[in-house]
């Protein structure tokens, strides 16, 4: 009797482990349109309305914990924010002159100054699920192909303080879609640096606007890295990083230009070809409740061959 129980227990364990390994192997072996992927999308299709309901029902709890966390953080942030406000005010004065000059130049060149977010037909969606692990930076939203959301579309969002690019749609079903965030290790974004105009000591070319590729490292969701810069790129903490709109074979997608991505926090090995620019994302990825999917491509500076 005892032997039978032991044998049964071991058989069940072996069966479960083997099933998991078969699933893993099969999932890795097949393409994105394969059977298991289709089943997964089908399950998401069924589960997403329930997830949406649960997300709405549990919103008060999330808000309560968010409020408690914010209150604790707010006390520590007052001094920093006052300092930051003073710096920004000085920056604003400098920017006003640049904005006026920019408007004049735009008129002069006949550029479409209204090429903003509204022109990209943003589809607003609610976040109904997110990955609990450090290994997948993904969220699930409540809009899918029936609302015009397609895989590859860029996604923007804002938290309480800032807004900017957060990722792209990687999977879409009828009423839900998966958004892979820029803090996921599979995502890379072509970006350029906008110099902090208040930081000009020692002097540097504020209009140089160096470019690079923004990626992240697994397990470091709050720290993006701008790579592929050169030793001549003078990048300093406080500089802003925005999408460049450029695409290349090295990148996993193409994003409209000038969407804010983050702020430079530090530069390691500055002035060398291996310089590593650490970037804090503009948006707190764990606090996103609503996102906007940019469903229409409006960007003349993206070449027609860049369709990925």
């Amino acid at each position: 009797m005892y032997d039978k129980t032991v044998r049964r227990r071991r058989a069940v364990l072996a069966l479960l482990v083997v099933s998991s390994l078969i699933l893993l192997t099969a999932y890795f072996g097949e393409s994105a349109g394969g059977g298991l992927h289709s089943v997964q999308r089908g399950v998401l299709e069924v589960v997403s309305p329930i997830q949406e309901g649960a997300s709405r029902a549990l919103k008060p709890f999330r808000d309560f914990f968010g409020w408690a966390g914010d209150t604790i953080h707010a006390k520590g942030k007052v001094k920093d924010l006052t300092k930051q406000r003073n710096v920004l005010y000085r920056q604003l004065v400098a920017e006003r002159g640049a904005t006026q000059e920019n408007a004049r130049l735009q008129n002069l060149l006949g550029l479409d100054g209204n090429n903003g977010i509204a022109a990209m037909k943003p589809i607003t969606a609610r976040v109904i699920g997110s990955s609990p692990t450090l290994w997948y930076a993904t969220v699930v939203i409540d809009k899918g192909t029936s609302s015009g959301v397609r895989a590859g579309m860029p996604v923007i969002a804002s938290d309480q303080d800032n807004g900017g690019l957060i990722g792209k749609v990687t999977n879409a079903t009828g009423d839900a879609a998966q958004v892979t965030l820029i803090t996921d290790h599979t995502i890379s974004v072509s970006a350029r640096v906008i110099a902090d105009r208040t930081d000009d000591k020692p002097p540097r070319n504020l209009n140089a606007s160096p470019t690079g590729i923004v990626q992240t490292e697994v397990g470091r969701p709050n720290d993006l890295v701008l790579g592929y810069t050169t030793r001549n790129d003078d990048i300093r903490p406080g500089d802003s990083i925005v999408s460049s709109g450029i695409c290349s074979a090295r990148l996993t997608g193409v994003y409209p230009p000038d969407l804010p991505i983050g702020t430079v926090t530090s530069v390691q090995d500055a002035g060398t070809d291996d310089q590593k620019v650490n970037v804090r994302p503009m948006v707190n990825m764990r606090r996103i409740q609503f996102v906007q999917v940019l469903s229409r491509r409006v960007n003349a500076n993206r070449p027609t061959g860049c369709q990925r």
Binding site: S20, L24, L44, F61, S131, W135, H185, R287, Q289
Partner: protein
């Protein structure tokens, strides 16, 4: 080892669905000290502790499968990790039958440690290029601490939900007999 009767199976199914939905829709979005609690390994560990290794491992497998389905993650990865959590907790019950009140706390902490570290190892084995950074270790430790804090109330909830479907276990039968008189050695004296 409790047999998997239809009532228990139904309650486990509901428990698994609710756990994953609450985790994905709410708990994952509540950040504390840069990370969030993870209910799934706690619930799998609790089920193992209450129902034994076979039911614990099976529940872990299906809970993992549902997590991977709901989040479009690599199928089989979470299942493999949660099988270990459920089976380990179940074997602890079968071999030691721990009586201490802090047992769910320890099992919760161990289940979370197995889940987070196991998940990291599996991802390394699958070729995800990741540095073993201080931040990664810190987040694993914080997740374990958070889960340890909520392990006891969560175990109480799981126990309350499953108890009506669990076969009468000898320990409870003994305790009930004492409190209703008759067999108590004190009443005989």
């Amino acid at each position: 080892m409790p047999a998997l009767n239809p009532g228990l199976a139904l309650r486990l199914l509901v428990l698994g669905l609710v756990t994953v939905l609450v985790q994905v829709s709410a708990v994952s979005q509540i950040t504390i000290a840069g990370t969030n609690a993870d209910l799934t390994p706690l619930v799998v560990g609790s089920v193992g502790l209450l129902c034994g290794s076979v039911v614990g491992a099976t529940f872990g497998f299906f809970a993992g499968l549902f997590v991977d389905m709901a989040l479009l993650q690599t199928l089989g990865l979470s299942s493999l990790v949660y099988i270990v959590c459920g089976y380990g907790a179940g074997r602890l019950r079968e071999l030691r039958d721990p009586q201490a009140g802090a047992t769910p706390l320890v099992v919760g902490a161990l289940s979370t440690a197995i889940a987070t570290i196991g998940f990291s190892i599996m991802n390394f084995l699958l070729g995800v290029d990741a540095p073993v950074s201080f931040l990664l270790l810190r987040q694993i430790i914080v997740t374990i601490l958070l889960n340890t804090l909520i392990a006891l109330p969560l175990y109480a909830l799981v126990r309350r939900w499953l108890l009506p479907a669990l076969p009468d276990d000898p320990r409870r039968r003994r305790r009930r007999a004492y409190t209703t008189g008759g067999l108590s050695p004190l009443s005989r004296a």
